[in-house]
């Protein structure tokens, strides 16, 4: 039987906070064979992918009142590969405050991606850019990976706004 460690991020979300660091802290503190029981105010779809890449299977269940309970249990299959670490952010340590903020929610695709890449080209290694988007920028991620940047992203509690943090030059070596 998998033993589950409870993490309730609903208070953080209701206060408008970002629970990613707390969740990753809890995940890293898990003993082999332990799982995580997460309580959130919405279904944390991006997190399912992130923890999936770290080798966790999930089971999500809607609770009364619109909250969600997600059980993450260690997968028996071998999953993680070198790329997923970068994709999930490269490391789990806290990042510096963003040096620049962008709101790209009202732009036609692919203009949000264009503006983000224009800005990241001008930023210094280690700087963090924060951008708000109206959807997950799936074509942007491979381009960030190629340029050696790391990113963390996810939907905000409103379920509509996607916030991505990009740390310049913090990923793997750029692809040649």
């Amino acid at each position: 039987m998998t033993r589950f460690v409870d993490v309730d991020v609903r208070p953080i979300l209701r206060a408008g906070g970002e629970p990613f660091d707390k969740i990753m802290e809890a995940v890293n503190a898990l003993q082999p064979g332990e799982g995580l029981r997460l309580f959130a105010t919405f279904k944390p779809t991006p997190l399912l992918h992130v923890l999936g890449a770290k080798g966790f299977e999930h089971e999500a269940r809607a609770l009364d009142g619109g909250d969600w309970e997600v059980l993450f249990s260690p997968s028996t299959a071998q999953r993680p590969d070198a790329a997923t670490d970068t994709l999930a952010g490269g490391d789990d340590t806290p990042w510096p405050e963003p040096r620049q903020h962008m709101d790209n929610r009202d732009l036609d695709p692919p203009e949000p991606m264009v503006r983000i890449l224009v800005v990241t080209e001008k930023m210094a290694p280690g700087d963090v850019l924060s951008a708000l988007l109206c959807r997950e920028p799936i074509f942007l991620f491979p381009e960030l990976a190629k340029r050696g940047h790391a990113w963390r992203g996810g939907f905000e509690p409103d379920g509509v706004t996607y916030k991505v943090l990009i740390r310049v030059g913090a990923g793997r070596e750029p692809a040649k």
């Binding site: 692919p110 990241t120 959807r135 997950e136 799936i138 942007l140 491979p142 692809a175």
Partner: protein, 451 residues
């Protein structure tokens, strides 16, 4: 959130599909097949399969290899399988055409076309389905547009299975009485599975996402969209599962098809309401050509649904099935396909050529790759000619029909010419066309970005 790269072979699918469209329009223009030959004649079947399989299915397969990953925000399971799948599908289509020609006595040879087609098409579609299903499976729970695609994939599996049964029975390989009954009576199920489930239902799902994306409209995920999804899925299940069962146990097929039709109509009405909402709720007031032309295609679907309901109530659907199917195939599916190709080819070409240059050098916008003012006239000609051809079919006037399909052919060729210009960046301002380090995209294949 690993992101999505370009699908390497999508352009090859598109090119092959467009060649099939042109051949089909050419055949109609010279008077081959219906209405100059009976609707179930070998000639008409050649035409139908060139269009449904060669044009629309290859177009859909190519698009899904790119857009299923977009819908579920995960990479395609395999970037290698699409090429052997395409080879099998094209060879299978050629064998199928050969089989029809042998069936009609137009080619005197051993009836090997059908069994060979059955094997090749089964392998080709199995490869496509495996690849797309694995991609979807890895992304569970699926967002609603991807669930439409999943039902579409089930439908093509059923359609191909029925087609294989027909091919094996007609090729003299299968003699089981149930399979013979299915071959005799199952053609409507094959058509509903293909045109309704595979092509229309999948296009509906993808259109929810693409229209919202290109018009900056909210993603719809409300009860109406869900009910529409369940109605449509139920309509297909009733038609295909219920229909096959009815044939095997000797029950009434029209009753089953009637029930399926009602559910399908509900799904279309709910879909129509959703699409109107998308167009009205869009933040982008001036919409691009592809979204304007998609509206013509959606109007064609609505007209076909209304016409079906009217003909059914008058008991005249069997007599007027040809213009209805023609409008669905060329007004709705082909019209939507051509309109979306105009955007998709430009976007993929832009991403392939300029993606790596963004922020490093001045690059054109996606819209700088196209000249909408020039393309719009060919799209308008295409839709007007298609609607006129539908009317000509309704009034059973073969000459007028051939003139109209000739105009459709001209319009399609000119639209393809525009797509070629986009792919070769011919309309991009020369000062920005190829910044240092950028490479001109190949016409038929995308260079895949390195991870």
């Amino acid at each position: 959130m690993p992101g999505v790269t370009l699908s390497r072979w999508t352009m090859s699918y598109f090119a092959t599909a467009l060649v099939s469209l042109i051949i089909a329009e050419l055949l109609m223009t010279v008077g081959y097949g219906y209405p100059n030959a009976p609707i179930r004649s070998a000639e008409s079947l050649v035409l139908v399969h060139l269009t449904a399989l060669g044009w629309l299915s290859l177009l859909m397969c190519g698009a899904l290899h790119q857009f299923v990953p977009v819908l579920v925000a995960r990479p395609l399971h395999s970037d290698v399988l699409p090429l052997p799948a395409l080879a099998c599908l094209v060879a299978g289509l050629a064998a199928l055409v050969l089989g029809f020609l042998q069936m009609g006595g137009l080619l005197s040879a051993e009836m090997i076309g059908f069994p060979v087609a059955a094997v090749l098409l089964a392998v080709g579609f199995a490869l496509v389905l495996w690849n797309l299903a694995r991609t979807l499976w890895a992304a569970r729970p699926l967002p609603l547009p991807a669930r439409f695609v999943a039902i579409g994939l089930c439908s093509i599996a059923a359609t191909v299975t029925l087609g294989i049964i027909f091919a094996l029975v007609l090729g003299g390989v299968a003699v089981n009485p149930h399979l013979v009954d299915i071959t005799a009576e199952g053609v409507p199920l094959h058509a509903i599975g293909g045109l309704g489930g595979w092509l229309t239902f999948t296009a509906m799902g993808v259109s929810y996402r693409l229209l919202a994306m290109f018009m900056l409209a909210p993603e719809l995920d409300g009860p109406r969209t869900h009910i529409g999804f369940y109605c449509g899925a139920a309509a297909l299940a009733v038609a295909i599962v219920g229909g096959v069962t009815a044939i095997c146990i000797g029950a009434s097929l029209p009753v089953i098809l009637g029930a399926s039709g009602l559910l399908g109509l509900c799904a279309l009405v709910l879909y129509g309401a959703d699409i109107l909402r998308l167009y009205r709720a869009r933040k982008r007031r001036v919409i691009e050509l592809n979204s304007r032309m998609a509206a013509f295609a959606l109007a064609s679907l609505a007209a076909a649904a209304v016409a079906t309901a009217v003909f059914v109530s008058l008991g005249a659907l069997a007599r007027h099935i040809a213009p209805v199917v023609f409008l669905v195939v060329f007004g709705w599916l082909s019209g939507l396909g051509l309109a979306k190709l105009y955007k998709i080819v430009a976007f993929l070409t832009w991403l392939e050529c300029y993606g790596p240059m963004l922020g490093k050098a001045p690059t054109p916008r996606v819209q700088d790759l196209v000249v909408e003012a020039r393309a719009v006239r060919w799209f308008v000609l295409y839709f007007l000619a298609t609607w006129a051809a539908t009317v000509a079919l309704f009034f059973q006037n073969p000459t007028a029909f051939q003139v109209c399909t000739g105009l459709m052919l001209i319009a399609s060729l000119c639209i393809i010419g525009q797509l070629g210009r986009i792919r070769r960046l011919l309309d991009v301002n020369p000062t920005m066309r190829l910044p240092t380090g950028a490479r001109l995209p190949q016409l038929l294949r995308c260079s895949v970005q390195q991870r």
